[in-house]
């Protein structure tokens, strides 16, 4: 429940830090918004926590940076563990036989690549790059009311994440073709995939 209490009672002897905002409502309007909610309930950790309440009072938008960080962790784990496995299953599913065998995966890669397994590998790597860049954009998206320093740091993160996603996708595509039997033939792609997995497992 939203209650009006003296700052000293709230802090209980601890130091209270003040958050900095970029574009924000006036102090009078922020206080009026807070006072209008006194007595209201409806706390929800993910959609209406104390940080949502404060940003709504100060900026007019409900937002919680702590929940953003939580989703960042979830999306990072999900996109690096679950998503690639699902992608491989999709490739295996569109292949000729329902198994994760190399011939079937090659068949699946050819199907999604429009007849070219190399294009299929490129699409797989590009999908990873888009997922990574999208996650970075989502987590570090711009908001008008953030301080200038926070906004510039987020801008650098978005650009860096996008560029590195594109470069790594290109690098993964190149390595699959270069590590095995040279080239993007069926033998090259399948042996390159196997060697890239071995090198990854070795920790390079």
């Amino acid at each position: 429940m939203v209650r009006l209490r003296p700052l000293a009672d709230f802090a209980r002897g601890a130091v209270v830090r003040t958050a900095q905002y970029g574009e924000r409502l006036s102090a009078e309007e922020s206080v009026a918004r807070a006072e209008s909610m006194i007595g209201q309930c409806g706390y929800d950790l993910f959609s209406n926590n104390c940080e949502h309440f404060v940003t709504w009072c100060v900026t007019g938008e409900r937002h919680s940076a702590q929940i953003d960080r939580l989703w960042f962790g979830v999306s990072l784990v999900g996109s690096t563990t679950v998503a690639p496995g699902v992608g491989v299953d999709v490739i295996a599913g569109v292949g000729m036989t329902p198994a994760r065998s190399a011939p079937n995966l090659m068949s699946g890669l050819k199907t999604i690549g429009g007849g070219s397994a190399a294009t299929g590998v490129g699409l797989v790597a590009a999908t990873g790059g888009v997922l990574g860049a999208g996650t970075t954009y989502l987590v570090f998206r711009d908001r008008d009311y953030l301080p200038a320093g926070e906004r510039s740091a987020r801008r650098v993160a978005r650009v860096g994440g996008t560029v590195s996603g594109v470069l790594t996708a290109g690098g993964a595509f190149y390595l699959v073709g270069a590590l095995g039997v040279p080239g993007y033939s069926a033998a090259g792609l399948s042996s390159g995939c196997r060697r890239s997995a071995h090198r990854s497992a070795a920790g390079w």
């Binding site: 700052l7 709230f10 802090a11 002897g13 601890a14 130091v15 209270v16 830090r17 003040t18 900095q20 960042f72 999306s75 990072l76 996109s79 690096t80 563990t81 998503a83 690639p84 496995g85 992608g87 491989v88 190399a102 995966l105 090659m106 590998v121 797989v124 790597a125 990873g128 790059g129 997922l131 990574g132 996650t135 970075t136 987590v139 570090f140 320093g149 926070e150 510039s152 740091a153 987020r154 650098v156 993160a157 978005r158 860096g160 994440g161 996008t162 590195s164 996603g165 594109v166 790594t168 690098g171 993964a172 595509f173 699959v176 995939c193 196997r194 060697r195 890239s196 997995a197 990854s200």
Partner: protein
């Protein structure tokens, strides 16, 4: 080959997100060492 494809798809995601986070933390760290830091209230 399954692992190879998983690495091909997962590496761009991991690198993009990790580098984005690293750059963000680096810029914030540089900013905190060039400013006087956030204001404090003694409760």
């Amino acid at each position: 080959m399954v692992k190879g494809l998983t690495v091909a798809a997962g590496a761009p995601v991991l690198v993009a997100v990790a580098l984005g986070l690293l750059l963000y933390l680096l810029v914030r760290w540089l900013q905190s060492h060039s400013d006087s830091g956030p204001a404090l209230w003694a409760a």
